[in-house]
Homo-oligomer: 238 residues x 2
DNA sequence: TAGATTGTTAATCGATTAACAATC
DNA sequence: TAGATTGTTAATCGATTAACAATC
């Protein structure tokens, strides 16, 4: 849970700030206030100031945050400067989609090769990235000094693929398989949890549709009114 | 933040329990202990008991949780029983991948149609689901009583597509565009945040590679040792 | 200077964990 | 009964928010 000084939740919000700042017109020396950022992103104003203060000193009293400086600090802190070169393992539907998705470049991610065990796929390429046999995974990672792996294999294959990545010196793994994997100390396995988001949506719908049905949750009628408090009320900032 | 009696974080863990239980062999009357579940998923034992107690009474002292009962309770609580029929808006790379991904059925999600505004796509179909023009989105949702929408459009189009979904009576939206959207009370917009996961990985790599570099984070050397505490130590449960 | 805005310290809130009571 | 395991109450921990100090 420790993330080395910065809270995990703050860290997860940083790319959201960055993405928002990137949508703003790039005017020389332009600044933006914490209030404006908070309002645009639906966050608390103090939270924005605190988050940004941990990674940047681009905030100036009476002025706001110098946009260009803040973006630079965010990118630096997140490690986007040195492009993270990655391999992807498992060229199924999801793997293909991630390979084809161009938006990752914005987050400093650069997938350089894909791996699979189906001979029909080996030797092909996806948008210029070769598809190689998983057999070559450890040696490829070693040789190319890859430290980041993306796992889009079926659950049953996930642990052995993770092991191969670790053998190749990979130190951070983005796991899309819905299983918990074991990794040695120092190797971070981050599970991407589509099912968890879906649970929030599905539960919300169930609540909205049958507010008095759930027997395990006597207070469930409240679910309908769950979203009542919009943090910034009606007020808008420029 | 309120989720009607159950904590948001607990709710997000429920599908993880369910997915794990589904991997177990289906033996008549079989049971499993909280300790075994915790160990398999890398969670705390008490946390598992507390989470499960909020949605099920399948737990029996001295016995454990009756697997079949627990799965039923989880599915019921999450609203998977009544298949959630959904529409997807934006048939780009990501949209196509989600349409093609068969795993959603496990989470009670059933995408019945896709929408786009590119005439080349209209009239085609993806795995049997028709691709229609966004113009028809509100009326389609009304007619088919769709309450769940998936947004995989570019950021610039997201708000107007959300509006169209809301107009059609949709009450929960899974938003893959990296923007904050405004929705009326009662409509839940859940943003899927790939960039946030990526931030954790990227930061971990940066820490591992240059532990003394970061100036904003004097305690950053600790980042290297971030994962030291594996909650269950070496002990395994049967 | 006065006013606006950031940064920080203290208070609150919520989630996790530890200790224990209940139960088969 | 004794032992194992669940469920719950109280304590701890961490994150958010409110109040205020600092600064340009």
């Amino acid at each position: 849970m420790e993330t080395g000084g910065i809270s995990k939740l703050t860290l997860q919000r940083l790319p959201i700030y960055l993405a928002y700042l990137r949508t703003l017109p790039a005017e020389e020396g332009a600044a933006i206030s914490a209030a404006a950022i908070a309002s645009a992103l639906g966050l608390g104003e103090v939270q924005v100031r605190k988050d940004l203060a941990t990674v940047s000193d681009a905030g100036k009293p009476k002025v706001g945050y110098l946009i260009a400086d803040l973006m630079r600090d965010l990118e630096h802190f997140l490690g986007y400067g040195t492009r993270n070169r990655a391999v992807l393992v498992g060229v199924g539907n999801l793997g293909l989609a991630l390979l084809s998705y161009s938006g990752f470049a914005d987050y400093g991610l650069n997938i350089v090769a894909a791996f699979d065990n189906k001979s029909a796929l080996i030797g092909s390429n996806v948008d210029g990235r070769p598809v190689l046999h998983v057999r070559e995974l450890p040696s490829f990672c070693r040789r190319e000094e890859i430290h980041l792996g993306i796992l889009t294999v079926p659950s049953g294959a996930a642990q052995s693929c993770l092991n191969a990545l670790v053998e190749g010196g990979v130190r951070a793994v983005w796991n899309f398989a819905p299983v918990h994997l074991l990794a040695p100390d120092g190797v971070l396995v981050q599970r991407e949890n589509m099912a968890s988001s879906l649970a929030l949506l599905s539960y919300h719908l169930k609540q909205a549709e049958a507010p008095a049905q759930s027997k395990a949750d006597p207070a469930c009628g409240a679910g309908l009114r769950a979203e009542e408090k919009t943090k910034n009320g009606g007020s808008r900032h420029g």
